[in-house]
């Protein structure tokens, strides 16, 4: 290794503008990754505040704080902000930081486009959040934007549609970047089936994004022309079909769900193997399972619409195809369990979050299987049971995996170990409160409480109160998360290159071979992978 040349190159390339100009003009994958992650954290807090408005109103029956119209704006915006502003950008940030380092590439393949896609996303969200202050308020028809209701939105309507267009463009560019990087810039010797599972999960996610974001863009454009140019795509009075939008939306929406969870699968696989000190069980099966889930996500969409009055054959098809998803998902859960089996397990904060993911995501998987059964879904549909289900897969699922990733890679990013004690407290508070928050919602839904209502019949009071207490506890715990990250960014014990223990018979991945913090430019000379 030519250490001296390397060092000289670094000294040369590390020059970057100081202050704000660095962040406005950077094309460095690490800087862009950081911007995505910081943006995502900010959106997580904003979306979380909206959730707290919802839970405060639902704390007891009667309307105490907000008007029902504003309540609907909150449910809609909470979902849009969390899905498109918090979870997706967080995984994009992780992809930016980690994919080049995992595959031994010097940067993303298309650095300028990388920066462009970040700023598109940023302005998309400035637009979307600005709708809260427009006449008529923010969109209030649910994040699913179903017509005809969504056409009753005020001035926010075209702004929100444009914001969705920008987000879609941003996601597509980000995905092209991931695919081009992985396909062309892997280090010599790193065949696809040697690639770390996080990079694998993102490769498949990127294809899903490219396939479905244009579908959403098409759907909202048709809404736009229905609203402003008198077309009748979804207007029955003009021969249109309101259910058509639901089909378009969920053809995007179901893959979208996996866009949020597949990177989480990748993260959890990496962490479980590191802290079991044993490579993932059934690596190839894990890759094929992710690919199967991605394929199935295209043929299950109408299970979100069992109550719209589909033909019997349609209901049967979507029940059966949806149940099939349980098979590759089961394979993944069994493989994670088998990775733990006869491992040498330790419980650092990333592992704690990954283990909570294994249990709680699986609970969300079970309720998902129940929802797949059309006859039972006629009761579950549009109730709090559904709310509980998708929050279990998204919060202790996707969000916990992202937190696990932050605790796993933060020392690599900052060069400092974070406060382990506080991170443990953050873990236990989050895990306890997330269950207090969402588990009772199963009961509420089964007992007959519909979702998206600002006020409820009094028999639902007790569990709503419990759920709201969980929400405030969970929300407050996240301030601790912010504090831990800031503290680690400022200083702390010096992290080693490997950060975590890497036994000799289970060598660390490439990201652990560079120093911590990772130098501004890594792998300018491609490493050799055996």
């Amino acid at each position: 290794m030519a250490h001296h040349e390397h060092a000289a190159e670094h000294a040369h390339h590390d020059e970057k503008p100081a202050g704000i100009m660095r962040w406005l003009t950077t094309t460095n994958h690490k800087d862009i990754g950081t911007m995505y992650l910081v943006f995502s954290l900010a959106m997580f807090l904003i979306g979380g505040l909206m959730a707290l408005v919802i839970r405060a109103e639902l704390f007891q029956p009667g309307l105490q704080f907000v008007d029902p119209g504003f309540f609907n704006q909150m449910t809609t915006m909470h979902a849009l902000v969390m899905v498109f502003g918090a979870v997706m950008p967080a995984t994009v940030g992780l992809a930016n930081w980690m994919i080049p380092m995992q595959i031994g590439a010097p940067d993303m393949a298309l650095p300028r486009m990388n920066l462009f896609s970040f700023w598109l996303l940023f302005f998309a969200f400035m637009l979307l959040l600005s709708t809260l202050f427009l006449p008529g308020g923010a969109p209030a028809a649910g994040w699913t934007l179903y017509p005809p209701l969504v056409l009753q939105t005020g001035d926010a309507f075209p702004v929100a549609v444009f914001a969705v267009h920008l987000m879609g463009a941003s996601s597509i560019m980000g995905s092209i970047n991931v695919i081009v990087t992985i396909m062309n810039m892997r280090a010599p010797g790193m065949t696809l089936l040697k690639m770390p599972l996080f990079s694998w999960s993102w490769l498949i996610t990127a294809y899903l994004l490219i396939a479905v974001m244009p579908v959403l863009a098409g759907g909202v454009t048709m809404l736009l022309t229905d609203h402003f140019f008198a077309t009748s795509f979804f207007n029955p009075a003009g021969g249109g079909d309101p259910v058509l939008f639901q089909h378009i939306f969920w053809f995007f929406g179901h893959p979208e769900v996996y866009i949020m969870i597949l990177p989480a699968f990748g993260i959890v696989s990496e962490i479980v193997q590191t802290f079991s000190r044993k490579p993932i069980f059934g690596y190839e099966a894990m890759v094929y399972a992710i690919a199967s889930i991605a394929f199935l996500s295209f043929i299950v969409w109408a299970h979100h619409m069992f109550t719209v009055g589909m033909p019997l054959a349609g209901q049967m098809f979507f029940t059966l195809s949806t149940m099939l998803i349980a098979i590759p998902t089961g394979v993944k859960v069994f493989n994670w369990t088998a990775t733990l089996w006869r491992g040498s397990i330790s419980f650092e904060p990333p592992m704690l979050f990954a283990i909570a993911f294994l249990f709680l995501f699986t609970i969300g998987g079970f309720s998902g299987l129940m929802l797949a059964i059309a006859p039972a879904d006629f009761q579950y549909h549009d109730t709090y049971f559904v709310v509980a289900h998708f929050h279990y897969v998204l919060v202790p699922g996707a969000v916990f995996a992202i937190m696990a990733a932050v605790y796993y890679w933060l020392p690599k990013w900052t060069g400092h170990m974070y406060d382990m004690k506080l991170a443990n407290i953050h873990f236990w508070m989050s895990t306890i409160f997330v269950n207090v928050l969402f588990f009772p919602q199963h009961f509420l839904g089964l007992a007959g409480m519909p979702r998206r209502i600002p006020d409820y019949a009094t028999q639902f009071s007790d569990w709503n109160m419990v759920s709201s207490i969980g929400a405030f506890g969970f929300g407050l715990s996240q301030l601790l998360f912010v504090y831990i990250i800031l503290k680690a960014a400022k200083g702390g014990a010096k992290a080693t290159a490997g950060v975590w223990e890497h036994p000799a018979d289970f060598p660390a991945g490439l990201e652990w071979t560079v120093p911590s913090p990772a130098p501004y430019h890594t792998f300018e000379t491609a490493p050799e992978v055996k």
Binding site: Q60, P61, G62, T307, T319, T337, A338, L446, P450
Partner: protein, 298 residues
């Protein structure tokens, strides 16, 4: 601030409520109602079947995870077994076995679907129309139709900062001025549609919900057990705008003879109305639009 005081009072209340939960908990509020019709019982049975299958799988999966976490801890001196990287037989087994479990769940569910979708042989058809934010029930072929809205007591209490205690209101948010009336022991076909935006008609005790969509007529059927007359409550289940949470559904199921008497009475009222013995009352709807309701002259 009044709100923060309320929050404080609410928090105290919550702690008290949480402490007294076991004492006042109504365990029926933890699960789906069994309901009062053949369909609802079958749907409940389906729900319990899949729930128990999930519980059994969960016990095995979570059991294995917990065992691994206890047994294979590094702090207890566990050493990683590097030979355990994959096992084709095991992997095939845990791919194939779930297929059989899923087939076991799919067969009864398809069976129930066929039954649910069979609306033939109904004795009465009621057309249900959703509006922002109330329902209309039209007893087809009888000339009887009426609107059904949130009752006045709930409506007053549900206003922002009304100061009224919802607990003191009879069936808060689950009460209407004119309930839908149906005969027990009769297969009733519902035709569902909407006038403005999507709604969904749902009474949990009947086991079913279905969307009411403008431009579409959806079908579903209900049948209340002959020995279960009573009042059954539900509400709109599809987000339909500002007052989505305030359009309840109340169905009063009466024995056949009582229902026939009720229907005959309503038909007389309807006839009187159409011959001009009634006045037309204009009713303001919340969105500023108007709908017309027929009422008997005082």
């Amino acid at each position: 601030m009044a709100n923060s005081k309320k929050l404080l009072a609410g928090t105290t209340g919550a702690i008290v409520a949480a402490a007294s939960l076991p004492a006042r908990a109504d365990w029926s509020l933890l699960n789906m109602p069994v309901g009062v019709s053949e369909l609802s019982r079958e749907i409940y049975g389906m729900h319990m079947l899949i729930l128990w299958i999930c519980v059994v799988i969960a016990i095995f999966t979570f059991g294995a995870m917990i065992y691994a976490m206890v047994k294979f801890r590094k702090s207890k001196g566990a050493v990683a077994d590097m030979s355990m990287l994959h096992n084709t037989k095991l992997e095939i087994a845990w791919t194939i076995v779930p297929v059989f479990i899923l087939v076991g769940m799919a067969i009864p569910s398809v069976d129930k679907l066929i039954k649910i979708e069979d609306t033939t042989g109904s004795e009465l058809t009621i057309k249900v129309t959703g509006y922002q934010w109330f329902w209309e029930y039209e007893y087809l072929g009888t000339g009887v139709s009426f609107y059904s809205r949130l009752d006045e007591a709930s409506n007053e209490a549900r206003q922002l900062d009304s100061g009224l205690d919802p607990e003191a209101v009879d069936h808060y948010l689950r009460n209407v001025d004119n309930p839908m009336v149906v005969p027990t022991g009769t297969k009733i076909r519902l035709l569902l549609t909407a006038n403005d935006v999507n709604h969904a008609w749902w009474v949990p005790d009947f086991g079913m919900k279905r969307d009411a969509i403008p431009g579409f007529i959806n079908e579903m059927w209900i049948s209340v057990d002959a020995d279960k007359p009573g009042t059954y409550r539900g509400q709109c289940a599809e987000l339909c705008g500002r007052d989505h949470g305030f359009m309840p559904i109340v169905v009063v199921a009466k024995p056949r003879a009582e229902f026939d008497a009720w229907l005959a009475g309503e038909q007389v009222k309807a006839q009187q109305a159409s011959t001009g013995a009634a006045t037309t009352v204009r009713v303001e709807t919340t969105d500023g639009g108007e709908s017309v309701r027929l009422a008997k002259a005082e």
